[in-house]
Amino acid sequence: MNKSTQIVEAGLQKRYAKEKRFRLYGLISILISLAFLVILLADIIGKGYPAFQQTYVKLDVTIDGEVLGLTAESPEDKLYSASYSKVIRNALREKFPGVTDRKQKRALSNLVSKSAAYELRDMVVENPNLIGTSGSYWFLAKDDVDVFMKGNIDRNLPESDRRIKDYQLEWIDTLVAENRLEKRFNTVLFTEADSREPEQAGIRGALMGSLYTMLITMCLAFPIGVAAATYLEEFAPQNNKWVDLIEININNLAAVPSIVFGLLGLAVYINFFGVPRSTPLVGGLVLTLMTLPTIIIASRAAIKAVPPSMREAALGLGASKVQTVFQHVLPMAMPGILTGTIIGMAQALGETAPLLMIGMIAFVSDIPQSIIDPSTVMPVQIYLWSDSPERAFTERTSAAIIVLLAFLITMNLVAIMLRKRFEKRW
């Protein structure tokens, strides 16, 4: 055995141990990050899944024309403005007679959501012949009842410490015994916009707002970003001071805190151009600024990765520079460009800070119909709900996070699929 082999053998044990240790460290760090992810997801899903259910109450309602001051022939605006909450209140009092205390009376009408009266109104406006009839209808239960039904209020606590008092417990127990309380899938969450009453609150408004905002961001950021990247990569003079300056600035912009873009948007779009505040239009414009550097950098990298032989072959066969770029380079770079775009868009989807300055952190309870209607976006909705005092908003906050996460995962999946589908190897 020669000397160097001896040295190697002496150190071999140590080197193996070192390698093992290194692998172990790697495994541990992956496990730690996985553990955090699991904790996060378990917490959000654990808190959020009850929000996908909602308690409904069945009431026997007599739509009394006398109480409403209506007949089946009343004009529509009269039908619209009558006080339907009285009808609901009467139905509840009939169900639980003998409530005289003012506080208890109020508690009694609070078994049912305020939306019951509006629902009844819409039914009567639709079909005035309902006046004078009676029937059983299911209405949304008030948030406190809902929270209780989901087991988040402990009935063994002393009465003074509970949101639901003893007399309310009694009513709820009666309703449960008569099968008049039922948990169903919470469709409201997906069909309604924001509301201050948790049982009526939904994410539709924010979802539409996010959709419009993303649409504008994509329509602006994608073409501008790709055009800028193509020019810088293919047409701009090489080793030019100005091109270098632009390049440095683009890279810098990618790292600028997003709130700065919000301030810029406020000063330029709202104050100078007069774009209406709080609309997806201005939100999309601001997020475009934020997304552009990401798209430009990703697109440049993708274009750079197309082998020069492709360009040379096209040029050699007589294609012009523009033809080469549009027919050969860009299609080959497209998977990379798309991935970069989707990652940029996903980032923009989760952004709230720049929207603060342009008034998108707002209470909007109408679903936006166009890009110039006031609206919020998903992350803002989550923020607003997490800041609300009502207990039932806690679970809705987590539910909204789940929906946003699902959205993001879908976007990232699409990015991966696009890459897999169009990826070329050479």
Binding site: R102, S115, R163, P276, S278, P389
Partner: protein, 343 residues
């Protein structure tokens, strides 16, 4: 490129929208009034055929700035405030042509000093709060100020328990913090004649002494989110939290409010004015926009109806403390007659 028509379309939409009028009410201002205004707005939107107003929570100061920036249609119609409009704000408004402003007081809000139900309820005075949380406190000699040396509540007042002073409160950007400084700290610091005398001689020093909160870890800024403070209190029974009454009301199974100056925090004690750390809430309406933006008048009517801010109104469920009957009457009259305020 194929996307070119979209650019042009977007450009057209911008110019078209800038020219067309807004058909919904725009409200800005205090985050404390926000939970109440939003409920009224929603009811208004449901009851009538007008669009639901859009409400931004910008803080009282930020709201006043936007509100007073002019009478153009792109400025807000209403601003919420968790204190009365300042003279300086009113002057800015006048200067920018916002001449007629209708002032409406909504009700009161109380600030809770609460701790976990697992711990005992605290009985504090405003003086205790000042001594425990101010940056500088009176020293041994008359008129001397020293950095706050107190570590436990017992150091502050021998009758209090021997636990570390640990208070979770809102950051300086919050209106609750302003009210906390003004009502609780200043209320306590006025109890020292030497400091009270400063008000006439050295106003800046007086303000600094009475409003500055200690920064040595005994007062912890817990962010704007009051729900978070409640959660942290639950986890740490020794800590005390500062937040709005509506959060206490909603979480009465988890936390209880301290007794301050002998008055327990409750709905009635705030309404009666017994509870010392409570503040009035306002909103201000731009008279110039009435008639230009549809629904402002009807919205006002809804807000000042007995159904909403009255003794049995729906705002009470959200934690608002109502005004007295005469006050309600007078503000209702001001709102329906659209009487502008003066300062």
């Amino acid at each position: 490129m194929k996307k070119l028509p979209l650019f042009i379309a977007a450009g057209l939409v911008v110019s078209a929208s800038a020219a067309s009028a807004r058909d919904y009410i725009e409200i800005v201002g205090s985050s404390t009034v926000y939970p109440f205004t939003t409920v009224v707005a929603e009811t208004f939107g449901n009851k009538t055929k007008f669009k639901t107003p859009k409400i931004e929570s910008t803080g009282t100061g930020g709201g006043a700035k936007l509100f007073c920036s002019g009478t153009g249609i792109d400025t807000p119609d209403i601003t919420n405030a968790s204190r009365r409009m300042k003279k300086s704000e009113f002057d800015t408004c006048q200067k920018n042509g916002v001449k007629d402003i209708i002032e409406v007081q909504v009700g009161f809000d109380g600030i809770a000093f609460a701790n976990s139900k697992k711990a005992e309820q605290m009985t504090l005075t405003r003086k205790d709060i000042f001594l425990a949380l101010a940056k500088t406190v009176p020293g041994k000699y008359e008129g001397e100020l020293m950095l706050n040396p107190y570590k436990t509540w017992k150091d502050v007042n021998p009758e209090l328990p021997d636990i570390k002073i640990e208070v979770l409160g809102p950051p300086p950007t919050s209106g609750t913090r302003d009210a906390f400084a003004e009502l609780a700290l200043e209320g306590g610091c006025k109890a020292f004649p030497a400091i009270a005398a400063l008000k006439d001689t050295d106003k800046n020093l007086y303000k600094a002494t009475c409003h500055e909160v200690r920064e040595d870890g005994h007062f912890i800024e817990a962010g704007e989110n009051d729900n978070l403070i409640v959660q942290k209190l639950e986890a740490n029974p020794n800590a005390l939290g500062v937040f709005g009454f509506s959060f206490l009301d909603q979480n009465s199974d988890k936390v209880h409010g301290s007794i301050i100056d002998g008055s327990e925090l409750s709905f009635d004690s705030i309404a009666d004015g017994d509870y010392p750390v409570s503040r009035p809430l306002y909103f201000y309406v731009k008279a110039a926009h009435i008639g230009k933006i549809p629904g402002i008048k009807e919205f006002l009517t809804e807000f000042v109806s007995e159904d909403s801010f009255g003794e049995d109104g729906y705002l009470l469920e959200k934690g608002l403390i109502p005004l007295s009957e005469e006050q309600r009457e007078s503000f209702r009259a001001a709102a329906t007659n659209m009487t502008p305020m003066s300062m």
